[in-house]
C-alpha cells in the first residue's frame, strides 16, 4: 500500500518538473549569483571597473578599507540607521495598528494617509524632504519662524551630528505605513473569543495588548522586524539623493560607500572588499535573527 503510494506520487510529480524552474534559474544565476562570485574575486584585485588589465593585490584592499576608516564608519552609520528604523517603525507602526484596529469611524482615511508615502519613489521622497529640511525657506525653518524664532540656523542636513538622524526620519516616514498595514493584518487574525476571555479574566486594555494580542501576533512582529532590518542594512537612497554622504562622511552608509567607491572613485577592488565584508555581515545578521526569532516564537 505504502509502496504503491510512493510510486503514484512520483508519477504525478515527476522529476522532470524541475525543467519549469529553468528560466528563473538561468536569470538568477547569470545576473545575480555569478556577479556575487565576481565581487568576491575582484576584492583581491586592483580592478578599476573599466580596464581589464588588473593585478592581484591579496588582502591589500581589506587593509585599506580598515586603515582609511571607511569600513568602520560605514558599519557604524548603517547600524545606527538600522536600529532606529527597526525600533521606531515597529513601535509607531504597531501603535497605529492597535488604534486603527478598534472600531472607529473614518479609520480607513487615517490608514490611507499614513500609508500614502509608501507609494512614492525614493527620489520623490528625497526631494520633498530636502525641501522640509532646507535652511531658510524650508518647511521646518518656516514653521520655526512662524513662532517668532530664527529658523535660518536650523540646517539638519548640514549638521554632522544630526544629518544621519534626519535621513533616518525620512525613511521612517516613507515606510511606517507598510509596517502598520502588516501589523493590522496580523491583528485581524486574532479570534475575538480570546479577547472576550481575556476581558472576563479581568484584563484591562493594556494587559489585553501585552498578554494576549502581542503574543498572538509574534509571527507578524518577526516579519516586520526582519523586513525593517533588511531595509536598514540596505540603506542607500537618502544618503545618495539628499546628502551625498555628507556633511563629511556622516551619512555614508555601507551601500553608499560601496557605490561611491565603485562608480565615482573607480576603485572596484576596494568597493568589492567592502561588499564582501557587508555580505558577510548581512548574511550573519539574517541567520542570527531568524534563529533567535524562531526560538522565541516557539516559547510563546
Amino acid at each position: 500500500m505504502k509502496k504503491s503510494k510512493v510510486r503514484e506520487k512520483s508519477l504525478v510529480m515527476p522529476t522532470r518538473m524541475y525543467w519549469f524552474a529553468v528560466p528563473a534559474l538561468i536569470l538568477f544565476v547569470v545576473f545575480w549569483v555569478y556577479p556575487v562570485f565576481q565581487m568576491f574575486y575582484y576584492s583581491i584585485t586592483n580592478f578599476n571597473g573599466v580596464n581589464y588589465d588588473y593585478d592581484f593585490v591579496g588582502v591589500r584592499n581589506f587593509q585599506s578599507i580598515v586603515k582609511d576608516g571607511s569600513l568602520v564608519n560605514g558599519i557604524k552609520n548603517t547600524f545606527i540607521y538600522t536600529i532606529i528604523i527597526v525600533v521606531i517603525s515597529n513601535v509607531v507602526g504597531l501603535a497605529l495598528a492597535l488604534l486603527l484596529n478598534l472600531k472607529l469611524k473614518g479609520k480607513s482615511i487615517f490608514r490611507t494617509l499614513v500609508y500614502l508615502p509608501a507609494l512614492f519613489s525614493p527620489i520623490v521622497v528625497g526631494f520633498i524632504w530636502s525641501y522640509v529640511y532646507m535652511p531658510g525657506s524650508g518647511m521646518l525653518s518656516s514653521i520655526i519662524e512662524l513662532f517668532g524664532m530664527d529658523g535660518t540656523k536650523l540646517n539638519l542636513l548640514g549638521d554632522f551630528g544630526k544629518a544621519l538622524y534626519a535621513i533616518t526620519a525620512v525613511d521612517i516616514w516613507k515606510n511606517v505605513g507598510t509596517t502598520m498595514i502588516i501589523y493590522l493584518a496580523g491583528l485581524q487574525t486574532i479570534d475575538d473569543s480570546l479577547l472576550e476571555a481575556g476581558k472576563i479574566d479581568g484584563c484591562n486594555e493594556w494587559k489585553l495588548i501585552t498578554k494576549v494580542k502581542l503574543p498572538l501576533i509574534s509571527a507578524t512582529i518577526t516579519i516586520n522586524v526582519v523586513l525593517n532590518v533588511i531595509a536598514g542594512l540596505k540603506a542607500f537612497d537618502y544618503s545618495f539623493i539628499m546628502t551625498n554622504g555628507g556633511p563629511g562622511k556622516s551619512t555614508q552608509t555601507l551601500m553608499y560607500i560601496i557605490f561611491n567607491t565603485a562608480f565615482n572613485k573607480q576603485l572596484m577592488g576596494k568597493a568589492s572588499a567592502l561588499s564582501v565584508v557587508s555580505f558577510i555581515i548581512i548574511i550573519a545578521i539574517t541567520i542570527l535573527m531568524l534563529r533567535f526569532m524562531n526560538k522565541r516564537e516557539v516559547e510563546f
Partner: protein, 275 residues
C-alpha cells in the same frame, strides 16, 4: 464617560499623527499650483492657483514619454515575473526532495543582497552578453531581483494548495504544462495579486537600475527622469516646478491606489504574512 474620553484621545492622536505625516505633502501640492516665480512663504497654503509650474514641469520632464516607459517596463517585468516565478515555485513546492530545499534556499539567499554591491559585475555581464542599453534593459534586473521574493511567496502559497485537483487532472491524462496552466495557475491567484502589487510597486518606483543601464533621455522612466532635477535642489527659484514634477511623478500610482485600495492593502499584508 471614560470611554468617550479615551475615544477622543485616540482620535486626537490619530489626527495629530496624520497631520504631521501629511503636512509636507500638503505644502508640496499647494506650492505646485503656484507660479514658478512665487517665492512667498509656502506655508500660506493655496494662496495662488495656476498651472504654470505644471506646464514647465510637464515639458521639462517629457512626462508622457516617461509615463509610457514606466508603464511598459513595469507591466512587462511583472508579467514575466509572475510567469517564471510560478513555474519555478511549482516543482519546488511539489517535489519533496533535497533538490527542492536547496533551490528554495538558493533563491531566498538573493533576497538580502543589496544591488549596489553587485552592480558593477552585473554591468559587466551585460557588456559580455552584448545587451544594448534600451528602455527595456532595466527590466532584466527588475525581473531577476523580483524572483527571490516572488518564488518564496508562491512556494509558501502552493504548499497550502491540496494536490488532489492535480491528481485528478493527471488521471485525465493532462500534460504537466497543461496542469500548470489550467489547474495550478488559477488556484494561486491571491499570491499573484500580492506579487503584482509588491513587485510592481518597487519596480515602478526604482531609479537605480535605469540610472545605471539607460543613457538616453527619451528612454527614461518617471523616477530616473526626476534625477535630472537633483541640481535644482540648491536653487529655490526652481522649487515650485520641482514640486509639480514630484506630484506628476507620484500621481499615476496614487490614482491606481485609490481605485484598487483594497487589493493593495490585502496584497501587501498577504505578501508579508505568507513570506
Amino acid at each position: 464617560m471614560k470611554k468617550q474620553l479615551s475615544r477622543t484621545a485616540i482620535y486626537l492622536i490619530l489626527c495629530v499623527y496624520s497631520f504631521v505625516t501629511f503636512l509636507p505633502l500638503l505644502i508640496v501640492v499647494s506650492s505646485s499650483f503656484r507660479n514658478p516665480h512665487n517665492l512667498t512663504s509656502p506655508l500660506r497654503l493655496f494662496s495662488e492657483f495656476t498651472l504654470k509650474s505644471y506646464i514647465t514641469a510637464f515639458t521639462k520632464m517629457n512626462f508622457l514619454g516617461e509615463l509610457l516607459n514606466s508603464i511598459l517596463t513595469t507591466a512587462g517585468s511583472v508579467v514575466i515575473v509572475v510567469l517564471i516565478a510560478t513555474m519555478a515555485a511549482y516543482p519546488i513546492s511539489r517535489i519533496k526532495k533535497k533538490t527542492s530545499r536547496f533551490l528554495y534556499y538558493f533563491f531566498i539567499a538573493g533576497l538580502v543582497i543589496p544591488s549596489q554591491m553587485v552592480i558593477v559585475p552585473i554591468a559587466q555581464v551585460f557588456g559580455a552578453l552584448n545587451i544594448p542599453n534600451t528602455r527595456f534593459t532595466p527590466m532584466i534586473m527588475f525581473i531577476t531581483c523580483s524572483l527571490p521574493f516572488s518564488t518564496f511567496l508562491y512556494v509558501g502559497f502552493l504548499k497550502g494548495v491540496p494536490v488532489s485537483l492535480e491528481e485528478a487532472a493527471f488521471m485525465e491524462g493532462a500534460s504537466l504544462w497543461r496542469r500548470y496552466r489550467t489547474v495550478v495557475f488559477p488556484l494561486i491567484k491571491p499570491a499573484t495579486v500580492s506579487t503584482v502589487i509588491t513587485q510592481g510597486l518597487w519596480i515602478w518606483n526604482d531609479y537605480f537600475f535605469p540610472m545605471v543601464f539607460i543613457s538616453k533621455r527619451e528612454q527614461y522612466s518617471l523616477p530616473v527622469g526626476m534625477l535630472q532635477f537633483l541640481g535644482d535642489k540648491e536653487n529655490p527659484a526652481q522649487w515650485n516646478v520641482l514640486f509639480a514634477s514630484c506630484v506628476l511623478c507620484a500621481l499615476p500610482l496614487v490614482l491606481v491606489f485609490i481605485v484598487l485600495q483594497k487589493q493593495f492593502i490585502n496584497g501587501i499584508a498577504a505578501g508579508a504574512v505568507k513570506g
